[in-house]
């Protein structure tokens, strides 16, 4: 993976408050989720990449250049900030056209790109309405539109799904995934786990200004050796299945579900468990098997609690 965003021992503090603490990481093309609770340092992490803050220590590079004091980078970087940042008296089309003129496009080209961006974020019908009259979801989308309009290679999206209705949320999730598939680097911050989960499996978990973990959710899960891995199985005869597996040394606990069909198993060595459960599962008539631990939320909860 070629890194497009690089943090090398980057720290940022505001007076006595440390917002980001000695972070070294790299982000490559594709969608990467930046996850953490409020106040974890997500926005600072993004603002350092966006050149809106200078690191107090270390350095942050975007596309190989130091992000602070490199405004030319913004020909290639799109930023969707968390707060509403508009001129309310402008229409959506005027807003995007004005911003594209700041990026260096002439009026005709700016207008063409603005129209295309509005189409992408499903605001074509509202292009001539003043932003002051936009709903919360529309505001989110116009913010995303301005980040996309100049066709950037790197997109820094701060809580882009906040306030969106389910239909538009789905649309934006699909758009973000598409942008990632195109080979752009998309860094999406969120404190809502399932939002990020819907967009990508590659995550950076951040807490108290430190990166707690990074990589694919499964890889992160594998790193947590001492944390039991949970597997849920739905079987015709869960008690028979329990009898077959409970004696194995890697099985730590077996719990029957309330409905009578489900069995939840905790194991210290998931690979061994999956290898050994096959035969017993066939005999007990297992129809479904999944690992709720692969859910981002459980990984996050576990890491924060450590």
């Amino acid at each position: 993976m070629t890194a497009t965003l690089e943090y090398v021992r980057a720290s940022k503090w505001y007076g006595p408050v440390i917002a980001l603490n000695d972070v070294t990481t790299a982000v490559g093309p594709g969608v990467t989720g930046l996850l953490g609770p409020n106040g974890a340092g997500k926005s600072t992490f993004l603002k350092l990449a966006a050149g809106q803050l200078a690191p107090s220590q270390g350095e942050v590079r975007v596309l190989g250049r130091i992000s602070w004091g490199s405004p030319e980078l913004f020909h290639r970087v799109g930023v969707c900030p968390e707060p509403d940042a508009f001129w309310e008296s402008l229409t959506g089309l005027q807003f995007l056209t004005a911003l594209l003129s700041l990026t260096g496009f002439d009026e005709a080209e700016g207008r063409r790109r603005a129209e295309a961006a509005l189409e992408q974020v499903a605001l074509a019908d509202a292009r001539n309405r003043k932003i002051g009259g936009y709903s919360k979801g529309m505001r989110q989308r116009i913010k995303l539109g301005q980040a996309l309009a100049h066709d950037p290679e790197v997109l820094l999206l701060d809580e882009p799904l906040s306030g969106m209705d389910p239909v538009n949320r789905r649309r934006i999730v699909d758009l973000v995934k598409k942008l990632g598939r195109e080979g752009r680097t998309v860094l999406v911050s969120s404190h809502i786990l399932h939002e990020v989960e819907a967009m990508t499996r590659r995550v950076l978990l951040i807490h108290n200004g430190r990166i707690l973990a990074e990589g694919d959710v499964r890889e992160i899960r594998d790193l947590m050796d001492e944390h039991p891995h949970t597997v849920a199985l739905r079987a015709r005869d869960p008690r028979a299945l329990a009898r077959a597996i409970v004696g194995a040394p890697h099985v730590l606990s077996v719990v029957f579900g309330a409905e009578g069909e489900w069995l939840t198993v905790q194991t210290a060595r998931p690979d061994d468990f999956y290898a050994s459960v096959h035969e017993a599962a066939l005999e007990a008539g297992v129809s479904e098997m999944y690992s709720p631990d692969e859910n981002l939320e459980s990984v996050f909860r576990y890491l924060v609690a450590r």
């Binding site: 594709g30 809106q52 030319e72 990026t103 990632g180 598939r181 694919d216």
Partner: protein
């Protein structure tokens, strides 16, 4: 590990920064300001004195005895620009108070600074708005008036001894416009409300003028003029155009130094306040 599709290779953005990056900021803000009818009305009123002075020049060339009441000479341009200072004040309030304050309130400054622009470009763009407005009521009518005076009364103005008038008009207009613009921008950057910024700017300029008036009444010394921005500009005009008003009689370097210090202070405020991220300690 995830394998990324590397299909995106249609990079069209321009790598180098453009030479004039501030112009779109100035253009958009001017468009917005000039779309307000009240503002256009104010601009029209600001040109009223120009019409009056043209008539004055015309009348004096036709009726030379009228010069006893309304003389036309170098001082006329100084008086003209001194009165126009009031309009630069009003234009700076109504056109400039919200220039940065509104961006701070809406967070639009973040959007500006997420473009290929520096903070300096942003300030220059905003300054350009006020300079354009203020010069349109000082430099433009001032030079136009001079040209009209040259055309209507060449025997009076087409002399080497009066060749200083045009440069003096340029200097006084530029200094007035620049100081008013910088001051309005600096005050605008100190608030998130255009209304508060406008009142603050008005209060600052007129408040200092009131203090100057009180000190002048108490001590009757021209140096009291140094306290007020308006009086400093008037003192400069007094020196440049040889107007000889006692209340503003002092070496030009004094008010020039004060105006320079005020401008530098405004730039320092702008440097501190214009940031994409407001840091709350």
């Amino acid at each position: 590990m995830p394998i990324y599709e590397q299909t995106y290779r249609r990079y069209e953005a321009r790598a180098p920064l453009r030479t004039i990056r501030s112009w779109p900021i100035t253009r958009e803000a001017l468009r917005l300001i000039l779309s307000r009818r009240a503002f256009l009305g104010l601009l029209l009123v600001a040109w009223g004195q120009f019409l009056f002075r043209v008539i004055q020049v015309y009348v004096v060339t036709r009726l030379p005895e009228a010069a006893r009441v309304l003389p036309i000479d170098g001082r006329m341009f100084g008086q003209f620009l001194t009165i126009q200072t009031l309009f630069t004040l009003l234009l700076s309030i109504f056109g400039g108070a919200g220039l940065i304050a509104n961006d701070l309130r809406t967070g639009a400054i973040l959007v500006y600074l997420s473009r290929p622009l520096t903070r300096r470009d942003y300030v220059i763009g905003k300054l350009g708005v006020l300079l354009a407005l203020n010069l349109s009521v000082t430099l433009v009518p001032g030079l136009l008036l001079y040209l009209i005076a040259l055309a209507l009364a060449p025997e009076q103005f087409a002399k080497w001894s009066l060749a200083w008038i045009a440069p003096a008009i340029v200097l006084q207009s530029v200094v007035t416009s620049l100081v008013m613009s910088l001051l309005a921008l600096a005050v605008s950057s100190l608030s998130r409300s255009a209304r508060v910024a406008g009142l603050g700017f008005f209060g600052l300029v007129f408040g200092l003028e009131v203090v100057r008036g009180v000190l002048r009444a108490l001590y009757d010394r021209p140096e009291s003029a140094l306290l007020s921005i308006q009086a400093d500009l008037q003192s400069l005009a007094n020196a440049l155009f040889g107007m000889g008003e006692r209340a503003f009689q002092m070496p030009w370097a004094y008010p020039a130094s004060v105006l320079l210090a005020v401008s530098l202070a405004c730039l320092a405020i702008l440097r501190a306040r214009v940031r994409a991220v407001e840091i709350v300690r």
